[in-house]
Symmetry: C2
């Protein structure tokens, strides 16, 4: 099996599976319990928090564990705002940001949606012009989940700080973690969402970075776990598995990123030798190499996906959230100005540092075989 | 190890651990992905939904998987109400209900808090008198987490339906599942919260039963998973483990409940032969046997807990949520009219059907040894 759908989800690493299993078997106590089993569980929780914090250069106390990236996004946005405040986001955010802003707009919040250029980069002039005295929150994703664009987050944050000292910046970092280096202190971001299952960790666990001193409102109320910011018995096996995944990812991260870049460059070089291929992802300097979006002319994306599946090669026609729901059609490719015929034939290849060069080689060999056949059939 | 803190959390069954592990290793696809790995994951999701639904006699489509009981409670309550509507709950709810209602009250919702009697039963006359034309939601727990009282949910629902056809009833069923028979159709409840880790399933997963046709608002917005009611990539290993736990629990449930009743009766009989012991849990006919709350006079609960710990016997002085936070002091025992000296010496023993009679025997032998010593020290 060749799995190139790592932006939908990743296969948990064996050490992660081991941690989750061991935690369920040997450390099943409730971290809030007063007895030894509870203390043991709390220690595990602390260790996981330190591990995830280290990966993004946060303090452990700045992390709130959640059930995943979508919860982190919802919590960040809803927890930071009050009625009537002006909000800014971009047109190519994940649905857990974009749809939420659309709902908030219906509820009466003034919202500015930033346009993006052909590379998927937000329009900074538009951003500068949009920031008002009443602007409370700017939410942009670090790495786009469909085409891999890296937003100029430091510039965005600098701009926001210059224009309005009270405005806060939330960054959806779900697709950034493991694909680019993430340093919350260097970025000087206020809120950042993370997800474990995109970095070979378990599903059902994520985190929200909340800068020290930020007065966030909780999304869920109850037993007061996570410093009263996220109630509910902690998913200790999941959180502990997230910690292991974070630690593993942090080891030689630069080498991992270089490996993925090499995979991508091989892939692109081979693609460019094919006729009727359009690379939708942006140029190297603003591209998270792990997410490569390509349009194949005169071929339907879904048909190519099925044909590759016969070779046990797994890819996507877009983000998993939009893959099977007509109501959630891809809006990122239209936003960067792609024409319908190129949207139709788009495939997202998303790599992990665990992918091997020979997998890319085999996938390319399959593409070279499949494409002419599919195009002949279509004509 | 003798674990009598099953209401804080339970040890996952080996079959559950196996399911979670296998799911992580072999079925790691995103259920929303269009390829075979996604389809396989979706099938697993479907099977888990059927299993959990069967346990409570719901239709699979009436279940929304969540990250746990607290999320289910928050989602049920916040999703059912609109500004200004009148709400009713009791004084002995779990913090994820009670604290949420307190917040809603601050936000301007009129809230009635029902008193409970010495048995922890809500005052039905007070309920009848409280229901107004504007009453939207009545939220009561099925089984109390501190003393094990079974509320007369069918009577409560009947009363609500008689007085106001538009009012809805939410039942926090987190401590009911596995401790009493739960049948949502017989109860005719509108919303019911469930949690996996209380029934030997994984942490980080729960469900909300939403009666067919109920127009609930989502708590989290995004990719539209769970019929658009709960966005976020599904925690498939957790959900699948929940399914296995539900199926195992459903097998000979009556025999399991009888076994726990037998454990409790042995325990109570032995306790009653001791001096200065007060059973805080109610009489058999309204008692979920698994949760036995007992006050030991002239002993501090925390001291007894530590002493039992030396025998590797794990108990609790109250719910895990209130165990280690001064701010969340036990409010259930005062609500049933217990005096300070009895609150101080209260211990919650919470059993599982997996506990053996010889464990109860050993624990009782330990208590017989420890109590006189602790009392002598105190004098």
């Amino acid at each position: 099996m060749i799995y190139f759908d790592n932006s939908a989800t990743t296969k948990p690493r064996s050490q992660v599976v081991h941690e989750v299993t061991e935690c369920m078997e040997k450390c099943f106590g409730n971290p809030s319990s007063a007895h030894r089993l509870g203390m043991d569980a709390e220690k595990k929780l602390k260790m996981a928090r330190e591990r995830v914090a280290r990966l993004i250069n946060a303090k452990p106390g700045e992390l709130v564990f959640t059930s995943g990236g979508s919860e982190a996004n919802n919590m960040a946005i809803l927890g930071a705002i009050d009625k009537g405040q002006h909000l800014i986001t971009s047109r190519i955010e994940h649905p857990s940001v974009l749809r939420l802003f659309e709902k908030l707009e219906k509820d009466g919040f003034p919202v500015t949606y930033l346009d993006v250029d052909r590379s998927g980069l937000v329009n900074l002039e538009q951003l500068a012009a949009a920031i008002q005295e009443n602007t409370r929150l700017v939410s942009v994703m670090h790495v786009n989940n469909e085409i891999g664009t890296i937003q100029p987050v430091p510039k965005i944050i600098q701009l926001v700080r210059e224009k309005n000292r009270k405005a806060k910046v939330h960054v959806d970092g779900v697709q950034a973690l493991g694909k680019v280096a993430v340093d919350v202190k260097k970025l000087d971001v206020d809120l950042m969402s993370l997800s474990a299952h995109k970095i070979h960790g378990p599903k059902g666990v994520g985190a929200l970075y909340v800068k020290n001193g930020f007065n966030l409102k909780p999304l869920m109320i109850g037993g007061g776990q996570e410093a009263d910011l996220r109630s509910g018995t902690e998913n200790l096996p999941g959180i502990s598995g997230f910690g292991v995944a974070a630690e593993l990812l942090g080891e030689d991260l630069e080498a991992k990123l270089a490996h993925v870049k090499a995979l991508k460059l091989y892939f692109i070089t081979m693609l460019q030798a094919l006729d009727g291929v359009l690379i939708n992802s942006p140029a190297d300097d603003v591209h998270a190499d792990a997410i490569l979006n390509v349009s194949f002319e005169d071929v339907k994306g879904e048909v190519l996906l099925r044909a590759l599946e016969d070779y046990e090669i797994y890819v996507s026609t877009g983000s998993a959230c939009s893959a099977r729901k007509a109501a959630h059609r891809n809006y990122v490719l239209p936003a960067i100005g792609l024409k319908e015929r190129h949207i139709e034939g788009a495939i997202r290849f998303s790599f992990s540092h665990l992918n091997k060069l020979d997998e890319v080689e085999k996938a390319m060999a399959a593409l070279y075989k499949i494409l002419p056949v599919l195009r002949r059939v279509k004509k």
